[in-house]
Symmetry: D2
Subunit: 236 residues, 4 copies
Amino acid sequence: MIKKILVRLDNRYYWQEGDLHTNYGVVKKADLEKAESSVKSHEDKEFLMFDANFADQFEKIKRGPAIMIPKDIGVILTNTGIGKDSVVVDAGTGCGVTASFLANFVKKVVTYEVNKDFFNLAKKNFEFLELKNVEQKNKDVYEGIEEKDLDLVVFDLPEPWRAVGHAYKSLKSGRFLVSYLPTITQVGGLVSSSEGFLHEKTIEVLEREWHVGGKKVRPKSQMIAHTGFLVFLRKI
Amino acid sequence: MIKKILVRLDNRYYWQEGDLHTNYGVVKKADLEKAESSVKSHEDKEFLMFDANFADQFEKIKRGPAIMIPKDIGVILTNTGIGKDSVVVDAGTGCGVTASFLANFVKKVVTYEVNKDFFNLAKKNFEFLELKNVEQKNKDVYEGIEEKDLDLVVFDLPEPWRAVGHAYKSLKSGRFLVSYLPTITQVGGLVSSSEGFLHEKTIEVLEREWHVGGKKVRPKSQMIAHTGFLVFLRKI
Amino acid sequence: MIKKILVRLDNRYYWQEGDLHTNYGVVKKADLEKAESSVKSHEDKEFLMFDANFADQFEKIKRGPAIMIPKDIGVILTNTGIGKDSVVVDAGTGCGVTASFLANFVKKVVTYEVNKDFFNLAKKNFEFLELKNVEQKNKDVYEGIEEKDLDLVVFDLPEPWRAVGHAYKSLKSGRFLVSYLPTITQVGGLVSSSEGFLHEKTIEVLEREWHVGGKKVRPKSQMIAHTGFLVFLRKI
Amino acid sequence: MIKKILVRLDNRYYWQEGDLHTNYGVVKKADLEKAESSVKSHEDKEFLMFDANFADQFEKIKRGPAIMIPKDIGVILTNTGIGKDSVVVDAGTGCGVTASFLANFVKKVVTYEVNKDFFNLAKKNFEFLELKNVEQKNKDVYEGIEEKDLDLVVFDLPEPWRAVGHAYKSLKSGRFLVSYLPTITQVGGLVSSSEGFLHEKTIEVLEREWHVGGKKVRPKSQMIAHTGFLVFLRKI
């Protein structure tokens, strides 16, 4: 586990691993180990130092393609009534982003992934993040969910309608299946196949960043306009 | 604690408390107690029944004026590296919304509120939500923060710059002070007074809901366009 | 044609037509006729007076249900290369909103409407707005478009794919068919039936209003989250 | 004036000017001149051909830094009551984008620019666009506006409050001064200096583009999150 991260005043982050080669010059490993709140490169540029936290570690994990990002996982946490004592199923695992974030806040996460390569990638990521409460299954969630009495099921799957019935059987009454879907076409397909569930809401979450500096206060010029839609289905 | 909630197919929710008087007729307490997954009113309209969860309970708490909503608290959870073992300070308490949500996910929340009426309102809300890990202080956070080694400080205060120094002293290195601010004018004021912190980002989070029904798939006509800005300051 | 409008400082507008009964008291017709830049009600409340312009007149026309609003018509004007010398076909007319706005900026608008009630409603609106360059046809645009060499065709129709071929034959090379569609389902249907056209872009336009007053500068709490999608098809 | 544009199916546009060198091979001038609706490169890749319109020409003009874009100019056209007979003042000219778009729709545009380099750049752009109804003034609008009875004044200036009084004297009653401002700080400064005007509204306009292809219908991943705020001030 990485202990320290470094940051330049332009908000560019670096992780402390041996000698650090940057656009601002090299920071020596020996200097890093002695330093506390800041350190200088051989070009005499200063780097601030922070204790690394979970979100920092998270930035370092290996990624696959399109994934849910913190804003999306945040609204799942606060809209489904789960908490520290909850047990959750996640499918498919992918590189493990959703499972990792959930595991940081709930009691236990069981995560399904049929693809062996992704299963192995996620395994490394969970180890790197030192998560003890994630159970990985190299199984096809379209075939079934083995857990019962779940507090939440999260799907990041291309065809979630194939596993809706499994989620129904595994959830407690009143609990949610949340499906993350890149296209609106998939949303329509899922909602029309969600028998036994109340379609509580389908939302998109947009995060807009501002530049704040002296007299120049304005939204940043570019933003991520879309990651995916979140469909909240509640077991009747 | 309420055990069951009821819902009509138009997504209107009701809570089970004695006889329930609705636009769809009266649901008798005796019928509610016998029912399992649905119940009918005296006008023969059906209501679905769910086990209530934390988010449902939350909807029932007494509110004051403008408050952070789940989307905002969600991004705080997933952007600050906190988790189940974290200790957090929140100020001002208000009606207790932020503290309640945080307490559901972290180890302990200490919450400051100078106003006695809000303090008492929040007390009832925490009891109603059966939260055991919230400590309330009827103190002015502008005067100081007594805790040390905190993993997160959240401010929902009109003049957060008056308590930035206190937050600095109470936070661990690399940890965040997040300030929720309705006006952009306040954002400018805070960022220019945040010595000792890195201004990591200022964002607004927008949640846009979709209507999904058969062939009619479109965004809903109205949305909440603004709750507040979130300023993320990281202790150097 | 109305010559003057009145406004209270809370941005509520009124139109001068005989005695004016408002929440701030009655403004007498005789007083209005003598007044120049302001007038008082019998409760001694002051109203500002403006010369009315096209956009003001427009606010007074009789409306049917869902209609394109100025933000949508604005991006059509500036994204299709039309100008003062352009000839445009619009269908269906509805209450005449789109045709009126276009007529204010281009040489001529021919507008199709199969429904006789809407045809008559729009007729009154065009007369009220004193527009001389709108030609109304009480015909079904799904049956055909009689004009040739058009600079733009705008559809506000439930099934635009039924008239895409007609638009193709009536447009000049390189010119646009713009279709306004409330649901994303319709967008998919149109784009997959747009042979002979390049699908240049499909957009939604969002207008977000700000409250600006002294220290309180923030986005307004509510906004219109959706009117319709605009599909820009360009004739090859 | 360019007569034809070419486009590849990936929506990349080219303009016909001599031999055309592209990633898809060279298109010979001789081939272009003979072609009608399509032409092939020496690599046998097909290009579609369109008649060029005003918006196409516009894409070819030389630009300076931050400028209003079509979405912003569109809402000015449809929210200020101007039309084909209107006379408008624009300041500063910059590279001439705003003046060009307005000139395409109104009777006359007078445009002020104190910087001689921008004045000359805009001159070339107006000539390229063959606009006959734009009058350029190489003058400082902070010193005054010489025109009277204007239907609209548009400011794209760093300190618009220095010219608010000039706009007031030059506008007809009930007409608008619209100011385009990148930062919210400037918005506050202008609104608090707008004596004699009603602050009708301050808005931002967001354009969100969708990917529409078969089953894959979703918003594009990136968008322009900010160009500028539009402040609408109405002369009392």
